[in-house]
């Protein structure tokens, strides 16, 4: 149950089997920092190349292929008072014949007041002068080393996690990742002060973060896609294009989870999911899109064997 403080000195824009920067035990807490998507740190200084640079990787003792790593997001706190966002919905998120009507893709600067929990545009268009958005800090991109010796760009996502841009990855949520390599090799980065669903402009409010996570090991529990839980839900994550396929991955993973770990047979799992499932949308900007399949814990609590 140690607390590790770690200040990164270099970063990775591909999630892979890089040499670990720290070895921790299941149950340990890591307090570290992340630069923003553009590689700028808490001082606003660019310290590494852009592209969702990741802190880590962190090696979790005892983690082996076939296990599941849990990552409780204890705290995600903006570490400076300026964030930025893109300002135009991305060409792949609008109708093809509307693309030519998109406004120029300038960056917007936001004043981020972590104490007050509010973000305001620094130089707003007139109509948005009064806009004060509640912060909802999250990690856009994090995950573990993928299988088969791959190193996967932080521009995209997969079974190993990565650039999922799911708003549910906020403090209080616990994420689960399949372990593909010894030590799992956890990477974290790409903090957003807040974000709309889908990250449809290609960014949230991008900002450096102070991040605290506690890792755990679900020994021998096999998962195929990222999973997680919040106070209200358990959830599974599918990452693919088209979104239909992300739905398929997330739904299949939830069916398996309900049957393997929540005490339901196939008939019960399917009936329950059919009438009670909920979906959230992660990223629809990146090469792989993200869909999240959720089941309410209060519903599971009604179910014999459900946990």
């Amino acid at each position: 149950m140690a607390l590790h403080r770690f200040s990164p000195h270099h970063y990775h824009t591909a999630i892979g089997s890089h040499p670990p920067v720290l070895r921790v035990a299941p149950g340990d807490t890591i307090r570290t920092t992340t630069v923003d998507a553009g590689g700028c740190d808490a001082s606003g200084v660019q310290v590494t190349a852009r592209g969702n640079p990741q802190s880590g990787p962190f090696y979790v003792e005892g983690a082996e292929p076939g296990d599941t790593l849990s990552v409780r997001l204890d705290a995600i706190v903006p570490s400076r008072d300026r964030g930025y966002s893109a300002s135009a919905v991305a060409p792949n998120v609008v109708d093809p014949d509307y693309v030519a009507a998109l406004p120029p893709g300038r960056m917007s600067l936001w004043a981020v007041d972590a104490a007050a929990g509010v973000a305001r545009l620094v130089d707003p268009p007139a109509a948005l002068a009064g806009l004060a958005l509640p912060l909802d800090p999250m990690l856009g991109c994090f995950g573990v080393a993928p299988e088969g010796g791959q190193a996967i760009s932080t521009a995209t996502s997969g079974p190993h996690g990565g650039n999922m841009d799911y708003r549910g990855f906020r403090a209080g949520t616990t994420a689960h990742f399949p372990v593909f390599v010894p030590g799992a090799l956890l990477h974290v980065g790409d903090g957003h002060a807040l974000q709309g669903d889908g990250e449809i402009v290609g960014t949230g409010i991008e900002i450096s973060m102070d991040v605290t996570v506690t890792v755990g090991l679900l020994k021998g529990r096999r998962s195929r896609w990222p999973r997680g839980e919040t106070e209200e839900y358990i959830f599974t994550v599918g990452n693919a294009r088209p979104l239909d396929q992300a739905v398929q991955h997330a739904t299949t993973e939830m069916i398996r989870w309900l049957q393997e770990d929540h005490g339901l047979d196939a008939a019960a799992a399917h009936i329950l999911l059919g009438q009670c499932v909920a979906y959230d949308l992660g990223n629809v900007f990146d090469p792989a899109y993200t869909m999240v399949c959720k089941m309410a814990k209060r519903t599971l609590a009604q179910v014999a064997g459900g946990r």
Copy 2:
């Protein structure tokens, strides 16, 4: 502001320019009944062929191509105490290599207690014996006659609405449809006592309904896809495959709506949408899938010109 009571004698399983059964004025309220998706009425008797049979169409005086029809869902109340659902997640909603593991696609019978607001399985698998789900009645399939002389199966959806299976189409919501033909020709049907997101088993809890709607006419306001509003949100609806394209339709329609009717220029609309948009999932079972793009009214209220 008349109240029309209408008891249907025949039904349509393609939404098109059928002879209207009733002519109403903007502001009028229609109280009618719908059979369930299988064509069974409040007595459980099959009175028409299966396939989301629609009551109507209702002709709205003054509605012309280029207008938008509003349909306030005043009440959607189950009219009997038995509903049914499919019991297995559909093959197109799971990974292709998981399809062979799907359980048999039997129907489940549900006891629907509209007074208590609860549905329970009549013959549950053991694990679900204690399951009591809160009702959330909605219309799965409704819409207006499509353009160009088309008649479109109630198995699918499009710019005219149709089989969207969006849980947000509950009492209290107002739906908007583009008007493609004189009188708009509103069809309603396919009530669900409740439904999971996506209608992933291919049904909600299917049941006959007593339905009350109030129609309105947004004269000269052009829309291209269904829209609507709830107490908390305005929303737009895209219907297409793959889901990516449904996202594109819904998002583009929201951008247009924000600019055309909510007083935002392109720069403001895009920045606002980028960090504040939310999406809900409608149907991922039918030939066209459904995605809903939402903007919170409380956010719009912060915006100069926003309504």
Copy 3:
């Protein structure tokens, strides 16, 4: 074996159960005319609204749901000397971030010399002054009335055929369509003097045609998607978005055809198809895309039971 000459006086831009203009017997030949996609006839006069107007429908005596209609394309001959095409690849056919770079979507005029079998641009950009393209006349849109009382826009396609824009639908090819309504109700239109794969600019060289077809009835032979044969291949057609789904429809239909009518068991059909299948691309412009799955007759001839 009668020959029917039919001059259309009105046209349809939705394929559905319209009143037939002519009743023919299986084995009969129909010689008719088609207007171009814009509704202009052999004189270049616009005689009906644009949108792939269809001649017909033709009622085939004895055709009933569950049968398959065959349509041998005997002759497709341009009936005037001018055709037109769009000049820019469509926004949905290029990368979303390339759309803004597309050139303006002007129309190009082509001189079509049916006797010489060549098309030349009337007012070419300099680089194309020497371009002389061999004609390859085809029908872009034809098919039969769809099931369930639907009327489907000639802008799109489905199990009933429609706007498939497949270059293989040239003279010498026989198309097969599932029969969904009594008489099948054959529609024909949308001739192209020639076309690139995919109809990626949204048109071929659009032109009015003299069309001769001979209908046949495969009594009691069930099909689910369009099929056909050329001198070298048998083929099946899937119409859907995304293209992946069109591949699925066409491939599944071919597997069924090989097993139901070509004397192969499942093991043989799958092995054969796996190493010998070929695909052609139809339309990637319309709401539904088209993929064609082919099997060479010379390969089938090697196979016991294969026809």
Copy 4:
């Protein structure tokens, strides 16, 4: 113009920046061997783990990011007399509701007679006893190290090439790849004695090969996706899901190529492509699908400036 003979001792199942096994100059020829997709060599002995193991990488002197590497496929010759294939169309290639009807996924053994140029099933189902398929040897998976420090599984494909399973990659074809890292780092593997379009069963006839390639360097010529040429065509390759997106990548790359290197302005390039483009289907089995966009050289030869 040296000839290098190279016998691999280890193999890679992710294409990335591995240490090069050989350094060659532009114009040099490499004669090497590839194991089959399952890791078995010319003796049928499994010498490495399965999964399209790659020989190489080969470092091409002078190749730098922003250049294009050409790889002329001089010879691809089966190096043993037994190959194998999967025997059932893959679940993702048929309709979801047909998956349960797929036959068991056994392997088929083929006798491959490279001298006679024919493959025959070793233990055929009765109907296929007479089947003798002409060989058409090709490389299923080859490419260069991807950008950004990635290592990408040989199960899939991308801008760097990879598992494209395109039948056009046969002897006589020259492939082009964007260079992302110094030396390009060419990998080759996954030979097929023959293959159906789409690799719809997940394999061709998998076999070890003797492979001869000649590399060249198009210095300063930027490409974004694989390209190539045969005697009759130039072509571009898009790798993505859904296929619609692969079409977009390949088509956009062809437009760029026509404008950047074939002397056409936008107007001419679009008109020409619109009426003359052809598409071939690569893989529809892997995580990324492959579509090939082609332009006939005989057509380009008619065009001023066209090469």
